[in-house]
Amino acid sequence: MSDRPLEISRRGLGQMLLALPVASALAAEEKKAVEKPTPLAELIAGQEPGLSDEEQARLKKSITEGEKTLAVIRDFKLPPDVAPAFRFAPLKSRRS
């Protein structure tokens, strides 16, 4: 596992979504005192009235921690000529 502090990992993903949990520095952060939910976490949780109090708390925690990983992506500097790693191919009709 990486020792970079804000990287997500399989374990960190496990909180949100993952094929296999794996801990990292993020997991160590989870052990610290509960962080105050971010405004985004409060906003999204507010749109989920069907969740129990426990689920609301889990959701806020997940989003709050996930925002650190998002920051890794958002802060990453990219040259303008780097295209996303997906391909699109027009699909021909059966007549063509």
Binding site: R11, Q15, A19, L20, V22, S24
Partner: protein, 465 residues
Amino acid sequence: MLGDDVLYLSATELGSRIRARQVSPVELAESYLARIDRVAPKLNAFVTVTRERALAQAREAEREIVAGTMRGPLHGVPYGVKDLFAIHGVKTTWGAKPLESQSFDYDATLVRKLDEAGGVLLGTLAMIELAGGLGYNVPWASATGAARNPWDPGRWSCGSSSGSGAAVSAGLVGFALGSDTWGSIICPASFCGITGVRPTFGRLSRHGAMALSWTMDKLGPMARSAEDCEAVLGVLSGQDPLDGWSADEPPPRPLAVAEARKLKVAAIRLDFAKAGEKEVEAAFDAAVEGLRAAGVAVEDAKLPDLPFEAVAGLVIRAEAASAFEDLYKDGRVRQMADPGATTSFPSAKAITAADYVKALRIRTLCQRAMADFFSTWDAVVAPAEAMTAPSAERGLEDVEWSDLVGGMSTLCGLPAISVPCGFGRGGLPVGLTVVGGAFEEAKVLALGKLYQSVTDWHRKRPPLA
């Protein structure tokens, strides 16, 4: 009934004895089925045992072989598949309670190919629900409960190809198929002391297999040796018109073991002072020395400093939120075993479309960097996992894992193998992973075969009654 000595033979050895008419496919299938009845429930390894189908296929294989018709190395060899492959007439639950009655009216391409190769399907194998697609923090996040590790049933077999790992390790099948989005073949192979291969993205058709992450999912073999995995890959490889993501690449051409000695290998050291078990580090160090003693040039190296894990995590999370959206919208997510499943989907709302595209742009950089890396090196070796199997009875919140190499390789769609390389705490297996460049499975497999030619870790059997 055939004894354990036969049931624990490698798939290629079983195939060889079948073709030589030393082993009857019918007797072999009956013997595995009897062992499954006796052992599988202790491990939660199977979802559905396809007894009648297996016996019918075994009888057909026997009839053909007696008549002199040979379909190849897997003819008459019994196997199992992770419970995410469509199989006509057999339920396919994806490991999830809300889908426990799901079935399909067609066969997944890989199941069809194994049918055509004369394989004998023994059943579907347990898995983490949705292959972990909604996240999980407990080993029992599965409709069938925690899959037990044959080396210690109090331990977990890992996920998400949990039953595939346990079944191969326990001698319940000749080989198995699993899937790997991030570690789901490599980890069970490591924890269960077997050999697993996650092929290059696109190497094997995914038609008929559950989609969790369209740009990250891979299917692959789990078996008792690298040679077995190579044989299964040989049967399954090839472009599939039913899978638009499958690659137009020729099947990997096997390299001789001696060729592996010419490869230049980078050893990636993990910081075990921060996370992991020192016994795993010792096993890895010994494995590196073993490869060097076998004539392989192994030198320490570092991976490019890129956010592999952050990108992989975001891509999987975003794609899975789309893949399983219906389960959330119609409330079936509440039937899932993992308590965190209900919040997985709404938490993904924090990811914007721009985040996803940015992640895929960084992925391009990662791919380029690793293509450069593998222009210098033939392969990377590292601990498959930094730890041995954790308890099957406790949550995973406090489990310390590490997976820089796994994050890099799965993000970039690169092939990897895990081979047993010793034992750690409590006599639990440790795995060595080898990662290669895109579509260079032959090098990865050759290193696995070489390592297994000079060690016997892969021949060890769990102390399972």
